[in-house]
Subunit: 420 residues, 2 copies
């Protein structure tokens, strides 16, 4: 779709979203769930049409010379379409966070004060190639009572519009306004800039994509951004680590998947156990094809490339691992707080006091004892779903589920109390 | 104090705050409380010196032609100094929010997942004339485990520096770094601009002051701001309002104090009860010297000036009240969500369903049934203290106590679990 006046178009999108947000915020749980289930059915029923539109994106992508990896992420197979529908049904089955009242307590004045969970309002989501984000994000925003504006990548425009049609069908079936979920209909990059200036209508921006995209959005946005930057995650193998757990966790955190933000990028090893553990680990990593880069003390024990200062800050997202031998817990915590990205860090230890100190003193969104960093995930944490992982501190930190898409207001119940 | 290079000075302040924040975040509850109690004692012991410095500010203020109201707010009487010390002792008696772990639950994978409350890091506070904010803010930030940078008004510079000396004495007595609380030592306005660009060191800015100050800060800041803009609060007297409660609440919400953000500025009255209630209310308001401005339907019942569109949006902070007669609950809610500032709004009704709808549908930080809007306050809500009231939606909404100065991270406890 070609739109002549992007500014006017995005203003309309914003205004419509704001108007729809009132209806969505007040919608009964049943109506929201009906819409989610109807969207799932519409996606299943529309599979052939969605795949036809997806083909257009794939053909255009090949012409534009997109990499095979990107084309793969863009492809909507039968299984992926089924997974999208299933995802919506799962969101429908989650408890509704909206309206939940907590901590309602009587005060000396006689009033009762508590908090009610309420939607944020309008959420703008800016993302790249995977079309499933369109469906996930729409479902999560709707369940949390928000209207949303979705701006996917230009390479997925036809797929996203086909999915948007199914989403609208679902909204209509449940009597909810179609503007509750709007997928931006133009690939013009100016639309992103316009979206980031819709502070009159949009309450928060959630970008999903590479660090470059996110940094541009943060720099440009007039609207608060819930963002995920680096995932430079650490595992620290303490002097009192159980060797079996240490090897199992250190191998899993690095090798279970490479291109994910919660994969370990730097391994820290206590000097007292380095000579015992590093050779075993090196063998495992070599078997998995992981390239090792070590500090001097590491290289005195195992054969690997030297690590530089850059390696301590690197988010490889690849089969590469930096290794440093440390004097003890203090140095491990200092290293993590200095070089880490505040994402997810784990200690492996059987020592109660050190576990306790690590949990308190490591300043990251997830801190773990004797578990793989790969668990940092909304589903694994029991949030039911995840719109992303926040490396910010304000509002939402770590995996963001439905709760992160809401806020709380105070409710006060009285029977005529006045302030004296 | 004259500082030649404001940029370099503020960079140093920022760096020192960041360094101190680690120690404060790890400080034991006992050490923080010791510091708070020692600050209180130092303020009491230093009363004469504080008042001498305060005199310097008052003399300079008179020379500069400050209004009597401003000079009054600036004056540190014996009672106000005692109140500051008492405030610190109260903060010491509050439970420590830092390190509190909640919702720790087992997941199917065997890991236990919960949330730990942790400090934000470094908080920048920018405020105007009242020197007691220096002490309040320092105490709250410290108890919540944060370092802080305080930038008071130039008219209070000597008073604030005298208080800062007492605060440092308290920190030192408890073995905490003096840089945990830094009061900016220059009145140069460039220091505010520099503070707002210290995004490398400062996690959040809390401005306290008039709307003009806050809007300038939001426009200029590179750091997230927890802010309070208008307080255009409403009371809606429903058709099923108890007449006694209606009058009591409507009078209290307007007249108990005028210059406060939680005072009512617009009264909405259901048409069915307007003729009965408005004459009684007009009599009360007239007795209190409140000027009334009404819609046409109001003016058909009582004698008052006509209200304009501007009156519906006005935060008078004065003995003036806008009154509108509405058709019912829908119009009342629409009026509040359209003209209000999302601060605090109350309904007076004995009707269960309307009370429930008002609580859910009014999009304000505090929504009340049968209670005066004047209760919107951290102490009244049981937060123990208040750094301000947020009209934002993200992170903190409504009165902000110690909890609003913290965030939560995820803690994961395992015994060797890996992701499969």
């Amino acid at each position: 779709m070609t739109i002549d006046d992007i500014h006017a178009y995005m203003q309309t999108v914003g205004r419509q979203a704001r108007e729809a947000s009132t209806a969505v915020a007040r919608a009964a749980t049943g109506a929201k769930n009906d819409a989610l289930l109807a969207m799932a059915s519409a996606i299943e029923a529309g599979r052939e049409r969605i795949q036809m539109e997806n083909q257009r994106d794939l053909i255009a992508g090949r012409e534009r010379g997109l990499s095979e990896a990107l084309l793969d992420r863009l492809t909507l197979t039968d299984a992926r379409i089924a997974a999208m529908a299933e995802g919506l049904r799962q969101i429908a089955s989650l408890p509704d966070p909206v309206g939940e009242i907590s901590d309602l307590k009587y005060r000396p004045s006689g009033i009762q004060v508590g908090r009610m969970r309420v939607p944020l309002g309008v959420i703008g989501i800016i993302y790249e190639s995977r079309p499933n984000v369109t469906v996930d994000a729409a479902g999560l925003c709707l369940k949390a009572g928000n209207a949303c504006i979705l701006r996917g990548g230009s390479e997925a425009i036809h797929s996203n519009q086909a999915l948007a049609a199914c989403i609208r069908t679902g909204l209509e079936a449940a009597g909810l306004p179609q503007a509750a979920v709007q997928v931006v209909e133009t690939t013009d990059r100016a639309a992103v800039g316009e979206l980031l200036r819709l502070d009159r209508y949009v309450d928060v921006i959630v970008p999903r994509g590479g660090k470059g995209l996110i940094e541009r959005i943060v720099a440009e946005s007039r609207i608060p951004v819930i963002k995920h930057l680096d995932g430079v995650c650490h595992v620290y193998l303490d002097e009192r680590a159980d060797a079996g757990k240490a090897v199992r966790i250190a191998v899993n955190a690095k090798t279970q998947r490479y291109g994910v933000c919660n994969a370990m990028e730097t391994l820290l090893v206590h000097e007292a156990v380095a000579a015992g553990l590093l050779p075993r680990l090196a063998e495992e990593y070599t078997r998995h094809g992981v390239e090792l880069r070590g500090c001097e003390r590491t290289r005195a024990i195992i054969d690997c490339r030297p690590a530089t200062e850059d390696d301590w800050r690197a988010e490889y997202l690849a089969p590469i691992l930096a290794i440093r031998v440390v004097d003890g817990l203090d140095q491990a915590i200092d290293h993590i707080n200095r070089y880490g990205s505040g994402h997810t860090d784990a200690i492996v230890t059987e020592d109660y006091g050190r576990a306790r100190r690590f949990l308190r003193e490591v300043d990251s969104s997830s801190v773990m004892v004797n578990a793989s960093t790969r668990f940092a995930d909304g589903f694994e944490y029991g949030l039911g779903a995840e719109i992303g992982i926040s490396t910010d501190k304000l509002h939402a930190r770590g995996p963001v589920g439905l709760e992160g898409l809401t806020t709380q207001k105070f409710v006060v119940l009285g029977d005529g109390q006045i302030r004296t």
